[in-house]
Each structure stands twice: as C-alpha cells, then as structure tokens.
Amino acid sequence: MREENIILRAENITKKFAGVTALNQVSLDVHRAKVNVIVGENGAGKSTLMKILSGVYPEYEGTLLLNGEEVNFSSPKDAMGRGIAIIHQELNLIPYLSITANIFLGREIVDSFGMLDFKKMNQITKALLARLECNVPPNTLVAKLKVGQQQQVEIAKALLEEAKVVIMDEPTSAITDAEVEVLFRIIATLKEQQVSILYISHKLDELFRIADRFIGLRDGKMVGTIENIDQAKKEDLIRLMVGRDIKNLYVKEDLPLGEEVLRVEGISLPKHTIKSEYLVKDVSFNLRRGEVLGIFGLMGAGRTELLETIFGLHSKTMVGNIYIDGQEIKITSAMDAVANGMGLVPEDRKADGLVLQMPVFKNVSMASIDQIVKNGLLNSGLETDLAKKYISNLNIKTSSPGQKSENLSGGNQQKVVLAKWLATTPKILFLDEPTRGIDVNAKNEIYHLINNLAKEGLGVLVVSSELPEIMAICDRIIVMGASRITGVFSQKEATEDKIMNAAIL
C-alpha cells in the first residue's frame, strides 16, 4: 500500500479509563476510498477507537496522522472541520426541525439582512439528498422520516462538511432490509467520490458484501487485518475476532444440579415501532437450581430485552409463558417478579441499579424493606445489621454502611446491587453484564460469588458479551442472534469459535 493511499493512520494509540486499558498500542491504517471494516467483540475497543478518531476523546497516548500530517482533534467539531464525520448508531437529529435546519444546524447561511436564507439552504440540501438517492423535500420535518432516511440526513450532514472519512457505527442495526440496500448503494457512491469509510458491524453477510478489507480488534489490541477479501472465509473472520489464550481464568466448579426453578416457553417481544419485527423471538429455555446459565450475544441480539421481558417490564406487549417451580406465573410488573423470588442486576447499575445519593445501607434494604420494619417503623439497628452482613459477606469496600453509594468504586457498587437482591433471598437471579466496567479483582470476586450462589441452590442467569467470562462461569450457554436463540452449548462442548459462529449468523 502506497503512502498516499492511506488517508488516516493511527500509531500506538493507548487509552485508559480510570486504570482500565480500553486501547493498548493500537496502530492501523484507513485506506482511501475503501470500505475499511473493523471487527471485534463487544468491549474490544471499537467504540473507544472511533471516539478518538472523531474527536470525542481528545486525550490519549499515540499519534494520529491525517494525510501524513499529525493531528489532534480537540472536539468532534474540530474533527468534522478536518473532514472526519461519524454517523452514530443512535442518530443525533432534532425531530421537530426540518431536514435543512438539521443539516445546517450551527452553520446556517444568512442573507445580507442577517435573516436565514432558506432558499439557498434548501437548494444545497436538495442537491446533497440527490447524491444520496433521497427524494424527500428538504423542508420535511425529521420526525416524519423513517429511520433509514434519518440516517441519510446524517450522511448528508457529513457531506455538507465535505467529509473525507465517514465513520459508521453499526449503521444497519435499526433499518429495514430495503433501506440497507439503499445504504450500500450510497456507500458505493461515496467510494466513487473518493470518500473513505470506516465501518463497524456484526452482521457477517453484509460485511462480505461491502468490505474492502477487515481490521480486527480484540481486548483493546490490534490483532491483524485481512486485505485479500476475495479469498477470505467466515472462519478467517471469526479467528480475527476470537482465539485469545484463556489461561489464568476462573473456571466454575462442577456442581450437581437441582430441580427446575424457571422455565420460559415461546417468549416474544415485538418492536414498539414495527409490530411485525421482534426484539425477542420465540425464546424457550429452562433453568435449574444450582445452575449458572449464560446468554451470549452481540450488541442488539435481544439479550437484555429477554431478561426485561421475563422480569415483567414489557408485560403489555410480550407473549409467552413463564413457569416458576413448575407453576405457571403471570408476571405483569417488576413487583410480581420480585414477589416470585426473582432479582435483576441491570446492565447499567448507575441508571437502573442504585439510588446513587442514598447510603449503602438504604440501597441494600431497598427490595426487602419489610424485614427491617418493627412496629410499623423502620428499625435502623436491623437495617445496619443487614447492611453489615452483606458488606462482610460480599467484601464490599466502603468506609461505613452510611457511605453514599455514589462514592463507591464500580465493582463495589455492583456488589451493593447484588446485596440488595441477596437480601430478598431470591430463587432466581438475573445478572446483566455483571462485570462491565469493573476491575479484574472485583470481577474474580463476582465470579466466585456467582459460583457460591449456585452452590446454595439459586438459579442464575448471566448475560455477558465477554466470551471468556461466559465460558468460564456458566454450566450451559445459550447464544442469541437477531432476537432468537441460535445455539445452546454445555460448558464442555463450548468453544469460542462455535459460540461466535452461532452469534454472528
């Protein structure tokens, strides 16, 4: 590859968050007028890398070279000015403004009286949309557009800035098949117009259709590229994504399993917007006492939605049956779920797990407050004892039970959420990404804890997108892809290749 064909080069990029290394000495090239595809599991560092390339994170170690010249973007606006645009997975448009107003937001054209020059802006917008085969009038409100069209507006916005590199983060995750076809034609057109594309996606089929080359990231490191796309096979791609050495990893004890505690049959959850499409489609499985069941899937596979559906958060739209200890149970709210012995440790502990400004002891007693009520009043002695019990059992590092939860580290916050549920003496525990964003030691503690809970006879359901984690701690692994179950493996038969193969369809 000749130097002039490399539009953007990253050299030894390292990025750390609070001691956790997200990117470690990553070096890669973005080739001019090509579709450069980045592949890797969730948490491999793709998003972090994109955010550095697009100026969202101005602080990092290493060097960025744009057309051979060193650059350091101070903000997304700065990156945009240098010709690098990013189309986020979640679109950033203002719904009740027109297409034109959105495209020109912050760089409006005014006439000699200082008034907005709608005529001129609409003309330019129309020309930009025409380049993208989009024939919607420029003064249409964005709220009235389909998701695919909104994405085209975002691309048009990038074109207005004369973007040379367009980064697309999972652009097909929210659009219909017909819209995907349009997007691919747009990408082909952009290539012809000498625009370089950096593309992230998990959907293997589409990757082989549009990619010119693959770049693999794993655990924050660059693992290699596939340049010769014609001869590449699905297996080569999977090898690029997985295949790390799994030494020093915790492995779950082999425990005898008890009775079935939870069974779900035909669980489906239609999308709010399009009733014919599903977030969860026809999922059935069972969970036994003492079992740790893993659910693996890539972003958007429907894992979190599955947990939420069983937990009663989508009772109005869901279909399917739930059996606890063999009895069919109607769960219409989280209240019912908790009353039936379930607990859910959510993916985002700050947003959904804890009341951050409350002290640790109040969070611990939150879901089982009746046990600290004496004569109709909360008994602070009982409450402190309860908190102390779990602080010691789970080794929660806090200066006192009265410490505000927001002052704890991520791992210890997660343990407080776990303590909240253990205090309810549940039968079934759902853990959604239980070790996300916490350090290695806390991770290991949580693995041991999960093992001990299973030993005590709980049924544990763990959602994780970390392959080594799910292979280490689970007795059985369900793989989800495109809202369905695409594979079930016992711990013994599971391999990274098999799981990934099932996950990326």
Partner: protein, 322 residues
C-alpha cells in the same frame, strides 16, 4: 465533620439567626412574644401545605394546585357548616357539626389530590400540567360553590381552630407542629417515606426493586391535597370567612419554602425540617420588612432575591445534580 460541612448543614438555621439578630437591632418590635406568635401563626398555613409540597417534590414532582385546593376545601367546610346539604328532590337535609364539616373539607382536598395522582400515573400527564389544570378547576369549583361571595359567620367553635390558644400556644401552631411531627416520622422512619426518596432519587432503580411507583405517587399527591385542606380550614377559621380567592398564589410561597429549605427540585434529596426552616425564613423576612416599613413592592423583590440566593447556595453545595 469539619467546619465547612457543619456550616453547609446548618446554613438555613444560621441564615435565620442572622436575620433575627439584624432585625432585633433594627426594630424594637421584632423581638417580642407577640410578634413571635404572629409570625408562627402566619406561617402555619404555609408550613402545612409546604410539608405536602416537600413530599411531592421529593418524588421529583410538583403541585401547583395546592392554593386552589386550599380555597375549595376551606369553602366546602364553611359551606357544610353554615348551610349543610339540602337536597329537596329527596326531601333530605343534612346538617354538619364542626367535626363533620372539617372532615368534608379533608375529603375534598384528598379527593382532588388523588385525582392529580391518578392523572399523573395512569395517563402520564406531567405533574406540572396535571396540577396546573387542577389549579384552574379547583378555583372554578370554589367560585361555583361560593357563588363568588365569602361564606362568613361560622361560629365560636369553628373559630377556635384558627384563633384559639391551648396551653399558651396558638391552635394553628399546634396543628402545624402535629403535621410536621407526623411528616418527619413518615419520611424518616417508615417504608413509605423511604420509598418516596427512592422514587425521586432513581425511579428506574426503584421500579426494578419491585416498588409500586404509581401507588407511592398517588398517595403523595393525595396527602398534598389533604394538607392543603388543613391549611384551608385553618385560614377559613382564622378569618371566620371562606374567601373565594383564598390561597391565591400560595403554591408559589410553598415552593419557595421547599426550595429555600434545601430540597432538590430534581427529587430524592431534602427534608421536612428543611422546609420548616424555609417557611420560617420567609415568615421572618415578611415580618421584618413590614416592621421596617419597607414598601410592599420592594418586599417582593427582596423575597425573589432570597429564593435565588438559596438556590445558588444549593447549587454550589451540590454541583453534580442536574
């Protein structure tokens, strides 16, 4: 605890004491028993409704209808007491004792509050809008009920509530002390109180913990309605008259007391005693400005500035809240 956190914790009380000392020097009428009881009597209505407002704001809501509910429940109590209920078609006349009339006022206040809560939880009407609508509805209902004229001449027994003394303390102050005491116990020592903070602190986490969010919110608005009725009855009794325009803009004084008392409008943080201090600050300020013959126009400006200063101090102490 270091000095800075101590000062932050007691900043309302410190501000209150400073105000009292300054006013005592500037006016010899300020630091008298008579003026003290006056201030207490005057703020008692505001404290009652502000206690309800505190609960609402702790859940991250707002209640703009308390002034109108206060007027309507006061008028209903007065009307029941004076005229009873006459239904000629059924050949029925019901007379009311003082106790019955007061109960009638509570039922109306609680009922309207319940309606607020129902709108907010079942139909997802934002609290601001639901209670703004109730502000208009309850005011209109008051006009209908009273025909636009005050209901006066409510008798000695009823007047005792607003003007009487018991053990050397005015009755409105007794009532207020009881309301505050119950509210403090509820917020600090009961499951319901804990849940109020949880809902306001993080509704999503509270829901996932199996809390019945709707039930908690409906109760909170119902209590705010009942406490508005308590205020309405005290006011009606003190004036011996249910005025159709009673309680006009009281919701604003009430929100001011809550905010000055350090309760966060984003929910989950604050206390009943803070609100009491906030109401005291407003009461002392009002009294002092009157005694110093400050023009009523300036009084309003000064009150507004005090609210701003209180909120800015709160921002400085809690910079990370939105």
């Amino acid at each position: 605890m270091n000095i800075k956190t101590t000062i932050i914790k007691f900043q309302s009380i410190i501000a209150l004491l400073v105000m009292c000392v300054v006013l005592a020097f500037m006016s010899d009428k300020f630091l008298t028993m008579e003026n003290g009881w006056n201030i207490m009597r005057q703020i008692s209505v505001n404290v009652c409704i502000s206690v309800g407002m505190t609960l609402v704001i702790l859940t991250r809501g707002i209640d703009l209808s308390v002034g109108s509910i206060l007027a309507f429940s006061g008028a209903v109590a007065a009307g029941l007491l004076k005229f009873g209920v006459d239904i000629p078609s059924l050949n029925l006349y019901l007379g009311f004792t003082v106790f019955g009339a007061i109960l009638g006022g509570f039922v109306v206040g609680g009922g309207l509050g319940l309606f607020n809560g129902w709108m907010i939880t079942q139909f997802k009407v934002p609290p601001f809008v639901a209670t703004l609508a109730m502000l208009t509805i309850a005011r209109g209902a008051t006009m209908l009920w009273t025909g636009g004229f005050p209901i006066t001449g409510l008798g000695q027994n009823f007047a005792f509530i607003g003007t009487g003394w018991f053990l050397g303390i005015p009755m409105p102050v007794w009532i207020t002390i009881i309301v505050v005491a119950i509210a403090v116990v509820i917020t600090k020592k009961t499951k319901f109180g804990r849940y109020i903070y949880a809902v306001g602190g993080n509704e999503s986490a509270a829901r996932l913990s199996g809390l019945n969010i709707n039930k908690i919110k409906i109760w909170v608005y119902a209590i705010a309605g009942i406490l508005a009725a308590v205020g309405g009855i005290i006011l009606t009794s003190r004036l011996d008259s249910a005025q159709p325009n009673a309680g006009f803009s009281y919701e604003l004084d009430s929100i001011a007391a809550v905010v000055i008392g350090g309760t966060s409008l984003s929910g989950g943080r604050g206390s009943i005693m803070g609100t009491v201090q906030g109401a005291l600050i407003i009461g002392v300020l009002n009294s002092g400005l009157v005694l110093l013959n400050v023009s009523p126009f300036w009084q309003q400006i000064i009150k507004g500035l005090v609210i701003l200063i209180a909120v800015i101090m709160d921002r400085v102490n809690h910079p990370n809240e939105d």
